[in-house]
Structure formats: structure tokens, C-alpha cells
Symmetry: C2
Subunit: 397 residues, 2 copies
Amino acid sequence: MKRREWLAAAATLSSIAAVGGLTGCAAPVLRGTGDLGVVIGRANGTLYLVDTSTRALIGEVPGLGDLSHASVVFSRDGRYAYVFGRDGALTMVDLLTQRIAKRVMQAGNSIGGAISADGTLVAAQNYTPGGVKVFDARSLELVADIPAEYAPGKLSRVVGLVDLPGRRFAYSLFDADAIWVTDCSDPKKVTTQKFDGIGRQPYDALVTPDGRHYIAGLFGEDGLAMVDLWADQPQVRRILGGYGKGQEPLPVYKMPHLRGWAVAGRRAYLPAIGRHEVLVVDTDSWQEVGRIPVAGQPVFVMARPDGRQVWVNFSVPDYHRVQVIDTQRQQIVQTLEPGKAVLHMEFTPRGDTVWISSRDANRVSVVDTQSFATRARLDVPAPSGIFFTARAARMGF
Amino acid sequence: MKRREWLAAAATLSSIAAVGGLTGCAAPVLRGTGDLGVVIGRANGTLYLVDTSTRALIGEVPGLGDLSHASVVFSRDGRYAYVFGRDGALTMVDLLTQRIAKRVMQAGNSIGGAISADGTLVAAQNYTPGGVKVFDARSLELVADIPAEYAPGKLSRVVGLVDLPGRRFAYSLFDADAIWVTDCSDPKKVTTQKFDGIGRQPYDALVTPDGRHYIAGLFGEDGLAMVDLWADQPQVRRILGGYGKGQEPLPVYKMPHLRGWAVAGRRAYLPAIGRHEVLVVDTDSWQEVGRIPVAGQPVFVMARPDGRQVWVNFSVPDYHRVQVIDTQRQQIVQTLEPGKAVLHMEFTPRGDTVWISSRDANRVSVVDTQSFATRARLDVPAPSGIFFTARAARMGF
């Protein structure tokens, strides 16, 4: 074969490779997505991809911008992670090709988001401009824009956004003392139910695992605001009047995250604010029924999926520790020190392990929840949030 | 280029195609597995593969043998379905390549199985020979054989096998009036805790969603046997003495499936045996607290994932109907007729739709659980069980 003929053959080869996807096919491995997850690399704007079966780091996707306080939801097939950056970016990352699939700058300052129960809509909650934007989950095209306009020309910062059944989202307006529930069944004609005067400065919120109770924490006063979304005429009710900043005997280093609150059986476990305690609350009466002393000011209080254990991390100066509460005995049964600056914890879906990020140790630890043995340690630079694809199958995540 | 040279170039092309997987790559599509599922084609030994996002049939895998009463569990990555056939076959089906990955004949007569919480072990419960066999989830190699030998040389049929946290399995011995809990932490040295004299002829069982209560139905007498697996010293306790075959005013056409029992909030919803009723039970006291009249003898009584609705299907002659109970109002709010011989129902993980198999209509219906509108109809020959990959993330499935 002559040189010219070789070139022709080579050209044929590469065009076949391009059409048939020879190169595109070699890179991404055919695999299931049910055991995938991501770790936020906060310092360098990178998403680290993990496999919870092999307990290993399997890739990284850089270029995601400001990931401080970033949060993540997943497409219903578990293939795509939607990353909400603090800088207002919404980035759709393909976990199989390990690349950015799509990215939009959707606001100036954003603080998280949610995905609708049917997986078709992704919603972002924004500080600037204050409101909620709703995107098509496949194309990231804007399908609904809901400014949080509570008075003419005045937009509130939005916090505590959660998904509800039926393409609905609930969220709180920090500057307007309000809770709004928006129905996006028809994205071209969204409707919003508004609850005003719920209490001063809601700063975060959660929905219970059954989607029934939406609860907002108040920064401007004691207590919490709750709506029973299953009621025929939902109304806001104040609960736990003693809960809040009015009573703390210690300086508050960090407001606890509400989204991490644990509901286990008939009890909810809440981080006390400014106290070294976890509060135990009856979910029927929403009255406090106990307090459990812990090693510091709790930040995340999270139930193992079966509710038999509740895991707690802490703010400065106790943020090198993690404690485990046995919900039967209502007491601490284990204290771990997985590395300095524990920022987040995530359970594998059936609760056999918990993954813990230690920012200053540049480490993610995989801990067996039965024996408390460390099963693996992953080197990740300054890890913060950890999110597994199984969240796609759960409400309020 | 001469003919010989063309042939050489063509040979190079095809060897590259083979090595690089050009043809192998064209067939299986790179995709997430979180929205996949299977439907048992009982009449022809075929597994039908479905996509719950597009609500479509996407493939079929024949050659699975006798699939009457077949059940399915999934690998933790959601890629593989483990199908337990009535003929004793255990078949591992790759949902991405749509092929049988592995298949073993592991018993003469089998009735279902489970997968360990960490996804490493698959267990099958067998009638002949009576016992449990445990397999490596990747290789399907036998790693533990546990004959249900309750007296010298006597093996019991095994029913009601469920996974528990920590590589443990609970199951019932129909012929030995016993419940066994086997710990496979070390598959080479399994240990079994035995509960004897639990009541006559346990015929099926379930574990509550938190993995705490294992409950076996009794064929030989009234009532149910329950073990609190979280107790320091677990013991068998009899509950619901009025429940059972002793009281039925009508002939019992089909013993209801226990695995489908619905636990929603603090209540469990149970199919009455031989009565047109669903029983409501308090899960603290395990006392009956109500009865809801329904359209026939219930078979499956299943809660929507959020617990706000309970869906019920029926035995002959009412098996063309499905009814929906509102758990707030404790009454029927909807009656559907999705086709003759409704055999099974499966909710998408966040409960936006339910998939219903109508065997004699050769149809699977996808129903919106809010509006009750039928969103899609799939043509499947004689469909029975429906199973979605999200089961991999849940206990007791």
C-alpha cells in the first residue's frame, strides 16, 4: 500500500471512528448509576465523583465556579448531577462521561435548589435577584420565573426550597416573613399560595420525609413556623416556642442546617441552637420530649435511613468530632474523630455505611455504621458536601 | 488502492472495530439506571424491560424458565436484576446490554429471595431442598448453604425471606413453626438465631420499612407472629389474634401477600383474609384500630411512598378493580378498572405514578396518583410482577 493509499485508509478509519463513536465509546464505561455520588471540592470548584460499591474516587469535573455552600440534586435516572453554585451557576454534570453537560448562569447569588417529584423540573432559589427560577431538567431552558416580590418592586431572598408531590415547590422568603407554595403543573401558568406573617426572618426550612410538614426556622425570633400541607386548608402554626436564638447561653458559631434534621419513627431530632444538645420532638404534638447532651454545638443531625441511629457533627471548636445517638436508648453510643473540620455526612441508601467529609484533613472517610470501623479513606482536597444518586428517589432532597 | 490492499485495510478496520468495541458499543446505550424496571412475563418466561421516564417498553430478555410467582431484587448499582424463578433458577439479567449475564439452577423449587444491605450477597429461599442458599452477587458462586433442618434429616420449606441490616437475613420455616435469623457477615461461618414455636405454619412474612419488626402470617392458626429485632433479647410475640383464616365468612380465593403490607406513618394497612376489608393497625400497640370496606378480598395493600394513599387490588372475582384509600380520611377515594386480572402494582420511587399489571388484558397501565389519569398503556403479554431498580435502595424488598 502506498503512502497516499494509507492516508486514504486512515481517513476512512477516523471518519468511521467519529461516526461510530469509537473514541467516544472507549472513555465512558457502561455501568449502573445507583451507586454513584459526588463530593463538593469547595476550594477549587471541582466536583469529585465517587463509587460507593468500590468505595473509591473515580473521576473529577473541574470548572464549576464558586462551590461554597453548593448543593446537588440528581436526575431521576441517576445519570446527571445538578450543582447549584453560590455564584448563581446551575451546572448539569454527566456522571457517566464525567463532563459538564450544560451550564447556565441563572442568578447573581444562589443558595440551592430542588428537582420536581417527576424529575422534569429543576428549581433554583436565589438571593439576587430574589426569587425562584424553574428549568427544564433536560435542556436547562428557563420555563418559569417567580420573582419573590412581596411589595411593589421589593424582592425577597429565598431560602428553604423543597420539592413537594405533583410538580410543586415550597420555599420561604427571608425578607418577607412568608412561606410560598408554587404549583408548576403547567409551567406556563404557575400558581402560588402565599402564607404571610409566619414569623420573622425564616432562614432555612425542611419538609418531613413524607412531604407533609414544611418547617421553617426563624432567625428573627424564637420558635419555628410549620405548615401541615395535607390539611384541607393549610395554615401556618408556630411550634417549639423555646427553640431559637433568644435562649442561647453560648455564642452561636454557625446556624445549624435544617435540611439535615432527622425524623426517625415518631420523633424528630433537632440541633439546639447555641447549646451542646440535640432536642427530641414528638412529631404528633410537635412538643419537645427530651434533650440529649452532645459534644458541641450540633450542625447536622441526621438519621440513618432505618432511624435506629442519629449522627451529629459540630461547629467550631468541636468540629473534629462526630457522635452517634442510639434512638432506642436515647443516648450517645459512639464518638468518632474522622479528621478536622467535619462538614457533611451522607448515608449509603440502606445505611450500611456513612461517608464523612473532613475539610482540613482533605479526606472523606467511609465508616461502617454497625461496627464503626473505617472501611476506606479517600483523598479529596477540602471536601464539603457529599451527595449520592439515591437522593433522586427521595422527597425533600 | 488494489483489491488486496483494500482487503488489508478492511481487515484492519474490522479488527479495530472488534477491539475498540465499535459494534459492542452501538448496541447498549450509555444511560443511567435509576429509572429502569422489569415486568415479569409469566406465560412465556420473558423479562420485559421498561423505562419509567419515557414510560415505554425498551427491551425483552427471554429464556428465564418458569416465572410463575417470580420475584426480583436489584444490584446496588441498579444495573442487574436477580430473578428468582419458581423452578429454582436464579438469573442475573444485565439491564444495559439486555442479556442474561449469569444463570444458575440452585434448587428444585424456589419462592423468592433477597439481597444484603451492602449489595454483596444474594439469598434464595427454597422449598426443595428446604433451606436458604447465599450467592456472591457478582459471580453467583455459592458462598453459604443453610439447610432448614429442624429435626434430623428433615428440611422445612422456607418462606418470608427478607434482608436485615448487616448482611443478615430473616426467614420462616413453614414445616417447623419457626423463624430463623442468619448472620452472613462471614459467609464461611454463618450463625443462625432460631425462634421456635412461633405458631403453626408461617406462610409468608415481611419486615417493616425500618427493619425493626419481622412479622409472619400463620396458615395453621389465627393471628400473626412478630419479632422486635431491635430488642436486646428479641422474642416472638403473637399479635392480632383475630386475624386469620378462622373467621372468614367467605371462601378464601387467594392468601394475600404479606410483603405488600403498607406501613404509613403510625399505621399499618393489612389485607383481611376472606373479607372485603382492609384492617388498620396501630404500629405501637399492634392492635387493630379500624376497618375500611373495600370492593373485594384484598391481595396487595400498598402505600404510596409518602403514605398518603394506600392502593389495593383484589382476588377473583373482583380482580379487575383497584381501589385507593386516603389515609387521612380513612376511606376509599377512587376506584379504577385498569383491565382484567390485576396482579401487581409498583410505585415510581417518589410516588408520582403507579404501574399496574393486568394479566388478561395483556397490559401495564401507568396511572398518575394525583389525578388518577392513565398516562400510558404498555402492551406486555400476560404481565405479573413489576419491579423498579429503586428497590435496591430500600430495605425489605
